[in-house]
Symmetry: C2
Subunit: 315 residues, 2 copies
C-alpha cells in the first residue's frame, strides 16, 4: 500500500504539503501554522494487551502531530460500525478514546458515525484526524537531515506488533508482551522547550524502525549507518520474533520515535529523553541514499524496505 500511495494517490493530489510525505501536513490558517494529519484504524483484534483500537487511534493522531513538532489540539473521530456490533464493545472503545484523549491533552471536537450491514465492515473502523499548532520555526522534515546528524531512538522496539500477533495467533509467552502504544507529545515538547534544533522526527509504526530509516534516507538522499547493538529489544520480544520469523527492525511500534539532530546536540537530547533513549546511528558523508546496519557480530548489511507482505491490519 505504501507503494500504491506514493505512486498513485499522492501525485494526483500533488501539492507542496502532501509532497513532503511526512506523517502530517503543516499548513497556514490566517498566517498561523497548523499541522493536520489523518489515519484510519482497522486493527484486528480490537482489543490487545496494552491497548485497543480506541486508545491506538488517539495515540496515533497525537503522535503524527508530535512528529511535525505540533502541539496536539483538536481531533475528529469517525466511526464505521458493522451492524450487530455489541453495544458493550462500542462503549469500551468510546471510553478508551475519551481516556486516552484526556491523558494526551487533545480535545475531540467533531465526530461522525456510520453503520453498514453485517458483513460489509469488520466490527469497528475508526478514522481520526488531528489538528495541532506549530509554534516553532524549525523545518522538521527529512529535507532537514544532514551529514553528521545523530539518530536517537526513544525506547525499545517491536512490542506493538508482537502483542497483536500473539493475540491473533493465540500464542502464549512466558511474560505478557504489551503494546508500547503511548502518546509522544511530551518528550517532543521537552525537546522543543530546551531549544533542541530537531531536524527530523518519525514514529516507528507500520514497517518499524527499518522502514522509517529507509524512507528518510531516500527523501533526504543521505546514507545512514546504524548499530544493531545500540537498538534496545526486550528479550521476550526477541524470542517471540524468532519463533514467528520476524525481524524486530520491521515490527510496528505505536509509542516509539527516532529523532535526527546535529551530532553536537546528541548528549542534550539523550539527557532530555531519559534512560530509555539511545543513540543508534549517524548520517554519513555519502551521496547515495542507503541504510547500513552493523550487526551484533560486527558484519555490515544493507537494510531495505520490506518487500512483499507486511503484517496486515496492525493499526
Amino acid at each position: 500500500m505504501n507503494e500504491l500511495i506514493e505512486k498513485m494517490i499522492a501525485p494526483v493530489f500533488a501539492n507542496p504539503a502532501l509532497l513532503k510525505a511526512h506523517d502530517g501536513s503543516v499548513v497556514n490558517v490566517q498566517s498561523k501554522k497548523i499541522a493536520m494529519t489523518t489515519d484510519s484504524y482497522v486493527i484486528h483484534p480490537l482489543f490487545f494487551p496494552g491497548g485497543d483500537i480506541g486508545s491506538l487511534a488517539v495515540h496515533g493522531t497525537v503522535n503524527d502531530l508530535a512528529m511535525c513538532g505540533a502541539k496536539p489540539l483538536y481531533m475528529s473521530v469517525g466511526f464505521i460500525l458493522e451492524e450487530g456490533l455489541p453495544m458493550e464493545t462500542l462503549w469500551q472503545v468510546i471510553r478508551s478514546i475519551k481516556e486516552a484523549a484526556q491523558k494526551s491533552g487533545i480535545q475531540i471536537v467533531t465526530g461522525d458515525t456510520k453503520v453498514v450491514d453485517k458483513g460489509k465492515a469488520d466490527g469497528i473502523f475508526i478514522n481520526t484526524t488531528g489538528v495541532g499548532a506549530v509554534e516553532h520555526k524549525l523545518d522538521i522534515s527529512p529535507q532537514s537531515v544532514k551529514k553528521g546528524d545523530a539518530i536517537i531512538l526513544s525506547g525499545d522496539i517491536g512490542r506493538h506488533g508482537i502483542a497483536i500477533m500473539a493475540v491473533r495467533e493465540g500464542l502464549e509467552f512466558e511474560t505478557k508482551i504489551e503494546s508500547d502504544s503511548a502518546p509522544l507529545w511530551n518528550p517532543i515538547k521537552d525537546l522543543l522547550k530546551k531549544n533542541i534544533r530537531i531536524h527530523c522526527l518519525r514514529d516507528l509504526t507500520r514497517g518499524g524502525l527499518a522502514s522509517a530509516l529507509v524512507e528518510i534516507s531516500k527523501k533526504a538522499n543521505v546514507a545512514i549507518q546504524i548499530d544493531e547493538r545500540a537498538i534496545p529489544v526486550r528479550e521476550d520480544v526477541k524470542g517471540a520474533c524468532e519463533i514467528l520469523g520476524f525481524d524486530p527492525l520491521y515490527v510496528a511500534n505505536e509509542g516509539r520515535f527516532i529523532c535526527f539532530v546535529d551530532g553536537k546536540e546528541k548528549d542534550a537530547v539523550l539527557k532530555i529523553l531519559g534512560k530509555s533513549a539511545s543513540l543508534i546511528g549517524t548520517v554519513m558523508d555519502s551521496k547515495t541514499s542507503k541504510v547500513t546496519l552493523k550487526s551484533f557480530i560486527g558484519t555490515t548489511r544493507i537494510v531495505d524496505m520490506l518487500s512483499g507482505d507486511q503484517l496486515p491490519r496492525i493499526c
Copy 2:
C-alpha cells in the same frame, strides 16, 4: 444512529464545541478561529447519476464547513479499501476527488489508505475531515435562531436520495434524476460578503429538510412554521417519491441548505441566492419547539423526526 450519537457518544466526549451539535466545530488555534468537520462516506452504490463517492465526500466536507460560515481551506482523505477492488474503480474515485476539490477551492493536504480483506469492507469507504477559516464574528448556530426569523431554502429538494434509490432499485424514470450534490461555499461567501447577519445554516443531508428543521427547532427551542407550497420539488422527483413511498421532506440532499435570518433581511438573502431560492417559513412566537407545515390543501400538520429506518447508506 442520530439518536445513538446524541445519547451515547456526544456526552462522553462532552466539550463546548461538540455540544453545539452543528455540522462542524469552531475552535481556536493561536487566537484564530477555525472550523473542523468530519464525515465517513459509505454510500452504495459508489457511482450514481450526478456524482460518486469521491465528489460526494468533497462536497460534504466543503458544505459542513460552509454551514459554519467557514471558508474551506484544507481537507484530509482516508480510504478504507476492500481487497480485490478494481484499480480502475479506485482511479475513477481519486480523479473525481481531485476534480471536486479543485472546483470547490479546497486543498487535500494529508491522506491515509488502509486495505482490509475481501468481505471485511464494501469496495471503498472514505473519511474526510475539513478545516476552514472563520473570518466573521457571527454565531452561526441554532442558538442564534430567534422569533421572526425568515427561513430560506436554497433550491429544490429530494434529488440526491431519489437518484441513489433509482440506481439501487434499478428504476427507470422518464427523465434521469441526477443528484444535487454540489459545493455550497460560494453562496454562503456571497451572503457574508454582503454583511447578511446569518443566524443559522444547515445543509439538508440525511433526514432531509424535515429533520434539519426539527433539529434546529429543538436546539433553539422555537416553533417553526413552513409552507409546503413554497418548497420546490421537481415533478419527476415528486412522482418517484410517490412510487417509492417517500416524503420529499425527508429525502437526503447534498447541495441544498436552509438559512435563518432576521425577517427584515429576507429580501436581501433571496436576491443574493438567486431565483432557485425561496422563502419557506418563519420562526414563530412560541415557547414550545415544534415544526408545523401548512400543506397544499391548507391543512396544518406537525413535522417530526423520521422514526424508524431512514434510507441506509445514502452518503
